[in-house]
Amino acid sequence: MVDSAVLAKRARDVVGAEHVRTGPAAAPFAVDGVTPGVVASPGSEEEASRLLAAAYELEAAVAPWGGGTKMGLGAPPRRLDLVLSLARLNRVVDYEPADLTATFQAGMSLASVQAHLGEKGQFVALDSPFGARATIGGILAANASGPRRLPYGSARDLVIAVRIVHADGTVTKGGAKVVKNATGYDMNKLYIGSLGTLGILTEATFRLYPLPAVEETHLSAFPTLEAAGAAVAEILGSPLVPHAVELLSAGAAPAAARAAGISWAAGQVGLAVLMGSVPEAVRAQLQDVARFCRGAGSTADHLVTGAAHTACWDAIREFPGPGAPRSLVLKGSVPLTRVPELMSRGEGLAGQRHLPCQAVAEAGSGIVRFYVDAASAPPERAADYVETVRGVAAELGGHLVVLEAPLPVKRRVDVWGPVGKALRVMQGLKAQFDPKGILNPGRFVGGI
């Protein structure tokens, strides 16, 4: 057991008393019901380094914290003594529009980043959810992504350099601040998606893209997921370059339609295809999309532009929206052609268990998200649902991860799922980078 008082004193020595919380003030920083003894907010990379060095010496278990939007990801922590908040590391470090590169501290929110870059007509091509509160560090640690990963890739394709504070306080950098770099191992790839278990990110450099001149969307209604899937297959097999292809279950589509100011017939599945380019190319490509949709049996076709367009994609990205029940969220990933099947079988299995469920899929990437209301169901039923859908995903050639779940459900399932023999290498990496196991112990795959 780590002495909280000793840890708190060491933290105060590093960051100052005004940036340390203990006792009841630390309660909002609980992770899966485990409250840390101390919450500390370093104001610089150097302070973060000294703080971690102190934690390492005391063998205190540490969880990094950005905007707190994805703290539900991962298994419950085996132990937690210190939450290290990145909130005060929120500056722009450098930005060169002509180079299309920019460096931000890890505590900056995605929304602030985009606002800063938007002034020069550029952006980081990441549209993961919770943008107003989610921080760069948290987005990268969780490898969060959104609908626009289709043309641009996800964080691992966009990050070119990072700075990391390691378990013992050592600071290192990975990559380089240029888009072409083949020097040594691609460390960025390891840190991204590692949930802070190999080190804590303090800075990240991104390759940037120009904002598309125009963005418009074709939103169509289909009687079945199968029919919508046929339209998707045509689109993805063609030379069209959509920036997002989103399949919305009959339960999920009305939210997007409402945001777009469109009336929606009950029971209709939705397909939203986003084009971003010069106006001539957007219109020409959307006409092709409309043709494919009608050919596959769409019952309604809408062109969504302007403010309605923005609201529609906000609704899709932030599904099911603030305030809506979202107790159990699953992320399946399968080969593209299996998306409609995973969606419909996942929904069917939920229905059989009386679990309200809606599904939204990035059909061009093979990602299916299930939003399940498990709040009033017995945890065994929800856990059984998770394992059954995971089995379906595996049967279809993919895998399934639990993004969020009530604690009693988390205790009954493996939130990450199996990783096969590669686990041995992952455990070897963890042992190298964090031999004392102080960074988010127990939260990652295989109990890492």
Binding site: K180, G184, E280, V419, K421
Partner: protein
């Protein structure tokens, strides 16, 4: 290795792959003593050529058990000395494992053996109107396994990225012989991104036997423009202005006057020999988009005092515009006995500055430098021309090369954009990374390759201190066209 042990090892390897899969005679081993960077030579003791994953597994287990160094090798077209058996031992050649195992067009995936030649995949799926995007210059000879090892690029990297952006899964034989799978057809597998860290690891973490790749529908339209400029500065400014206009072309390539002269002597591509620079811009994508961007790109060129703009009307004209750029490296032989190819990276905005500095070095050292570069990514290939018969010139080339590399780092760049570190640049790593940075990388290596038997002497400096550029090699630095170039099977960018 003493003779009896070598014979026993050869016999054991022969039992795994068959006698015709083991090379023991020195004259045959010589083929494997260097790669595309011919200055470094190291004769392996044995070469083994497996045909299946099971054979690779058994070979690696044997080497591990016998404590023998082993090095994987594809086509040997690499440009950093990465495929050399620096400590002797066994080279495992993957060229007999070149099958395309699965083409899955509707899922945008292909699964191939690592010895497959890069261009074979695009050739195979061309009938479906699909292609594999990373197209390094050596693609008619290099293997996917080699591309994975070096994280190979190609002229389409400004828009399509490099190999790592297109590899989704790997089957790997770890250095102790255990077979593991990383990733697969589906995105975002849980756990650490072992696929991502393996790409670009230069054959030091394991032998990959199978690769799952992303394939894409061919773009609907392609348009190639060439601008003839009075100066490199004008061409570079045009590139900056294209970026500022919010346009990301598929390719952006620049050649300077000296390269143009060499090229016109060699292949007569029709580049004006009095031009300061030529800029090649290729746009691809939906037809409406490509057509809409031709005028903005042309306007940018005109605003930067372009002398002449040529726009290819058809495929034949497009190939002609590219002909000179593709022949650039080999053409250096027209104007100089020898040539040292550097692979330098700087932020795009620093291009005019580094070029001015290279010109100053060139005057200072009395050595001509031709510049060919991937202007879209700030990836520069200064070609230092010299006469290898002159010992003093060799030293000057080494010194000048080191100075260029140092300046690139100081300007915020990198020591290699696409050729990798290998043997050639390992002692320059401390220019870019601190001891702590390198130690983090070594942790990765230890997690995969704790015994250090696999591919020793690559990437990491061999001593703690920063060794001066003299480490480039006693034998001198020569660019001789690879025999595959002479055979017309490969071109170098």
């Amino acid at each position: 290795m003493e003779r009896q042990r070598k014979a026993q090892l050869a016999a054991a390897l022969g039992a795994i792959v068959g006698r015709d899969g083991v090379i023991t005679e020195e004259d045959e081993l010589r083929v494997y003593e260097c790669d595309g960077l011919t200055i470094f030579k190291a004769l392996p003791e044995l070469v083994v050529l497996p045909r299946t994953r099971e054979q690779v597994e058994a070979v690696v287990r044997l080497c591990h058990r016998e404590r023998v160094y082993f090095v994987p090798r594809g086509a040997g077209t690499g440009l950093s000395g990465g495929a050399l058996a620096l400590e002797g031992g066994v080279i495992i050649g993957l060229n007999r494992m070149g099958h395309i195992l699965e083409v899955d067009v509707p899922n945008h995936r292909a699964v191939v053996e690592s010895g497959m030649v890069n261009v074979w995949l695009t050739n195979k799926i061309a009938g479906d109107n699909f292609y594999y995007a990373p197209d390094p210059a050596s693609q008619t000879a290099c293997t996917i396994g080699g591309n994975v090892a070096e994280n190979a690029g190609g002229v389409h990297s400004p828009k399509y990225g490099v190999t790592t952006n297109h590899v989704l899964g790997l089957e790997v034989v770890l250095p102790d012989g255990e077979v593991v799978e990383f990733g697969g057809k589906a995105l975002d597998p849980p756990g650490y991104d072992l696929t991502g860290v393996f790409v670009g690891s230069e054959g030091t973490l394991g032998v990959c036997t199978t690769v799952t790749l992303r394939i894409l529908p061919k773009p609907e339209a392609v348009k190639t423009l060439m601008g003839v400029f009075e100066s490199i500065d004008d061409a570079s400014n045009a590139v900056s202005d294209i970026v500022a206009a919010g346009i990301i072309p598929a390719c952006v390539e620049v050649m300077d006057n000296l390269s143009i002269q060499a090229v016109e002597k060699g292949v007569r591509a029709g580049y004006p020999t009095d031009a300061g620079a030529v800029l090649l811009v290729e746009l691809d994508g939906p037809r409406a988009e490509v057509e809409a961007l031709v005028e903005p790109v042309s306007r940018v060129m005109r605003q930067n005092r372009v002398r002449e703009i040529r726009i290819a009307k058809d495929d034949a004209e497009r190939l002609l515009l590219w002909k000179g750029r593709k022949a650039a490296f080999a053409a250096m032989g027209q104007i100089s006995p020898d040539c040292y190819v550097q692979d330098a990276v700087i932020p795009r905005t620093k291009l005019p500055q580094i070029l001015r500095e290279i010109a100053a070095f060139s005057r200072e050292y009395g050595l001509q430098v031709a510049n060919v570069f991937h202007a879209g990514d700030g990836n520069l290939h200064p070609l230092i021309l010299y006469d290898g018969r002159n010992e003093r010139e060799l030293h000057k080339v080494e010194e000048m090369g080191a100075k260029i590399m140092r300046r690139c780092i100081e300007l915020g760049g990198s020591i290699t954009g696409e050729h990798g570190v290998g043997r050639e640049k390992r002692d320059y790593m401390p220019l870019m990374y601190t001891e702590a940075d390198l130690e983090a990388m070594l942790k990765v290596k230890r997690a995969f390759n704790p015994d250090g038997l696999m591919n020793p002497g690559k990437i990491f400096p061999t001593s703690k201190t920063c060794v001066e550029a003299g480490a480039a090699g006693r034998d001198g630095i020569r660019y001789r066209p690879h025999r595959l170039e002479l055979m017309g099977l490969a071109q170098r960018f």
